[in-house]
Symmetry: C2
Subunit: 182 residues, 2 copies
């Protein structure tokens, strides 16, 4: 019934390998940029919450050159909860808050020059993300074997989405240019 999807994202990452809160934060940024984001403060809290619910277990690993770290491991109950969420339930629409599209939807309030300049910045932004994604594709976990199928599919999605954005920005600039000439 309830959402709490951050929980499932974390459990999902932990099915791959045990990890610290810090590592999970990094992995979010690396492999889930195109569909999820969470701050480290949120991740640490959710992890300790899941530990009290016995969905995960932690172990402190001392380190010499760095601060000690707390490695989390998924437990059977966590695995079960993840799977029942995965299989059951309907298709939920994404919750997106896209400030860029919001600004673009208000272009009638600013000049065409400012609009075009904003679109160019936006295009640049998406180009950078595309570059990171294309680079990710060369990493060893990016074959389409059964074990990595999910990441393979969603990365391809991200790349297509970025390309669509970039093409659309070009088209939108053309529309604005043609309006200027009239």
């Amino acid at each position: 019934m309830i959402a709490v999807s951050l929980r499932y994202a974390l459990l999902g990452l932990l099915t791959r390998e045990d990890a610290t809160g810090y590592e999970l934060t990094q992995n979010f940024k690396k492999t889930m940029i195109h569909f999820w984001y969470a701050h480290h403060s949120q991740i640490y809290r959710e992890l300790s919450k899941m530990e009290t619910e016995r969905l995960v277990a932690s172990k402190v690993v001392p380190q010499d050159d760095h601060p000690d770290k707390k490695v989390y491991k998924i437990k059977e109950a966590g695995h079960n909860e993840l799977l029942s969420w995965l299989i059951g339930g309907d298709v939920h629409p994404p919750k997106l808050k896209d400030e860029q599209l919001l600004k673009i939807s208000l272009f009638h309030l600013i000049s065409k020059e400012e609009s075009i300049s904003y679109l160019q910045k936006s295009k640049e932004h998406h180009n950078q993300i595309l570059a990171r994604m294309v680079e990710l594709k060369t990493s060893p976990e990016q074959d389409c074997s059964e074990d990595h199928i999910g990441g393979y599919l969603t990365l391809e999605f991200g790349i297509r989405a970025m390309k669509m954005w970039i093409e659309w920005c070009g088209w939108a600039v053309e529309v604005l240019e043609s309006l200027k000439k009239e």
Copy 2:
């Protein structure tokens, strides 16, 4: 510095015409589905907050056949705040939480049949949204005149995004089918 973009979305809609909280809720669903969503409870809260900050003003309009309504109007200060947000500031990445992509990224945990069935439901979902968008395009506010340029650009964006989703779903199903045969 701060986000509070719901505020700007509401102010943006109010630059078009005065409206009640109810109407703003409807307009959100109609014209901003592909990049924003807000519950009515949140919209009412933000409106009354903006009224105490004197960015908007309200007037109660009595009605015979329906409950009285409270019509909001944007004030000069609201207009200024909206414009300084629009012009100033950097390009912020969208904040998205896409449960569908999250589930898809975990397909290695479920069977190919379940994965395919999920993708088909997802495709259907996006087809429905596409149909609504295409219908919206026939409405009179959807010319690409200067006054409606923003809505015109973002609706085209939404349509392209839905088409990309649908095509991608087809591609992903093919990938899974080909894995089954091996």
